[in-house]
């Protein structure tokens, strides 16, 4: 597996550079705004003062470009859509270095270490979860039961509602879209969401939740691997642009958009044709206002087809 040989950081914010450098230097040599770049360099760009993306793209390994954005979420999704970005960190003075370290570590890790909540929670953090093989509609109740056991005193008042909703949307997508897409090879979702679905054989949708000192995380993993970058970003883009439900057989077309919008970091791991995992993180925060004001981050990790 090819790994970056160095990390280049473009920012004129000295404090941010120092914090990023400290967090990332154990992974690879860190250089600041080098004059030339090659496709063995992982690049972090603070868009406030960095180079233009069109100047960077031709020379870069695109999944190694981490863009630090400071615009509104809707504009960020537009930007991701337009430039085929895999990683955009919503600028947050406190959390950006921590987030960059977690996400970039995955680029350096073996791919079997990408999966699950482990890369995002402190070592030794316990997670709790369950598997679903049909649409029995109890998934959300099970999520709420797990959430009740967590300690929420360092959070604003409502992350449980947000997590339950995100789980509901992601589980529905996994159960209703994944198998159909894999079997038919089509991106159409012909199953009515009111109809029951039953997965076959060993097919399962796995839900996990965990909390550490930084965040609470939700992971929903399927064994289909059909949710690719294009579907993910197109869906988010449509959600932000139109903000309307779709009247079609299948879902309302807003599940990913809502899951993205209710979290702070939205992460997709994909092994094509085998599994997809969507992870949503809500960072620990006593203030609802800060949770809502945090610019959201998007990360898409895909294993190359072999």
């Amino acid at each position: 597996m090819i790994k970056p040989e160095r990390i280049a950081i473009f920012t004129k914010d000295n404090e941010l550079f120092d914090a990023l450098s400290l967090a990332l230097s154990p992974l690879a040599p860190v250089v600041r705004a080098p004059k030339s770049l090659d496709n063995r360099t992982l690049v972090l760009v603070d868009e406030r003062k960095g180079p233009a993306i069109d100047d960077l793209k031709p020379t870069l390994h695109l999944p190694w470009l981490f863009w630090i954005g400071h615009r509104e979420d809707k504009d960020h999704i537009q930007f991701i859509h337009e430039h085929h970005l895999h990683h955009l960190l919503g600028l947050d003075a406190v959390r950006t270095p921590w987030e960059a370290e977690m996400q970039i570590k995955k680029i350096f890790a073996e791919k079997d270490k990408w999966w699950g909540l482990k890369p995002y929670l402190a070592a030794g953090t316990m997670t709790d979860g369950f598997s679903l093989s049909d649409s029995n509609k109890h998934g959300t109740d099970q999520v709420r039961e797990i959430l009740k056991l967590q300690e929420w005193s360092e959070f604003f008042d409502s992350p449980q509602d947000h997590l339950a909703l995100m789980a509901n949307e992601l589980v529905s997508n996994a159960l209703y879209n994944g198998p159909e897409e894999k079997r038919s090879g089509s991106a159409h979702y012909p199953i009515d969401r009111k109809a029951p679905v039953f997965l076959r054989g060993s097919e399962l949708v796995q839900v996990n939740l965990g909390m550490d000192t930084h965040a609470v995380g939700l992971s929903v993993m399927d064994c289909f691997g059909t949710l690719d970058w294009t579907k993910t970003v197109e869906s988010l883009h449509r959600g932000f642009q139109e903000k309307t439900v779709q009247y079609k057989k299948g879902g309302a077309g807003l599940g990913l958009y809502l899951a993205f919008s209710h979290g702070n970091q939205f992460i997709v791991n994909r092994r094509p044709g085998l599994r997809t995992e969507v992870i949503c993180l809500i960072e620990k925060n006593r203030r609802y206002r800060q949770y809502k004001g945090r610019l959201k981050s998007f990360h898409f990790f895909e294993e190359a087809s072999s």
Partner: protein, 157 residues
């Protein structure tokens, strides 16, 4: 099976429908079909979740109400307000939003409160001052971004 419970009460020609539970793809609005009252109040206080398919079900349901019916939304919980701000169509055009929950934070006692606000209390998208129900502090801080949280009121007279 629908996890949405609907209780109806008719008083002086005004129908109040209290909704509780989850509004999702299985939401069954049959008990509310064929309403003939000129005025209907939907009380959302007991609603715990509104997912994307539930919004679609709701939008389809209210589109079938007679155009002349006066519709009022009462006691919308915070999670509903958030969804409504993210997805268009939940509020029927011309409907009145009477009251809704809003997050406040008291720096004095470090507690968050959900305060039920009347729409009339929110002028030019500015949150009204509130007293902390826990410690009595007179000026709790509105704990959301006003422009974002009150977005759903933009069409309210």
């Amino acid at each position: 099976m629908s996890k949405l419970k609907i209780d109806k009460e008719l008083l002086d020609g005004v129908l109040t429908a209290q909704l509780a539970g989850t509004i999702d793809e299985d939401a069954d609005f049959t008990p509310l079909q064929g309403l003939s009252q000129p005025s209907v109040i939907f009380d959302f206080h007991g609603v715990t979740m509104l997912n994307s398919c539930g919004i679609r079900e709701w939008v389809s349901f209210i589109a079938k109400l007679p155009p002349a019916t006066r519709v009022t939304y009462r006691r919308c919980p915070q999670i509903i307000i958030e969804q409504i701000n993210m997805v268009h169509g939940f509020f029927r055009e011309g409907a009145v939003i009477e009251s809704f929950a809003a997050p406040y934070y008291c720096e004095h006692c470090d507690k968050e409160s959900k305060v039920m606000l009347k729409t009339a209390q929110v002028q030019t998208r500015k949150a009204p001052t509130q007293t902390c129900p826990h410690c009595g502090e007179a000026n709790m801080e509105f704990d959301a971004l006003e422009e974002q949280y009150f977005h759903f009121l933009k069409n309210q007279g």
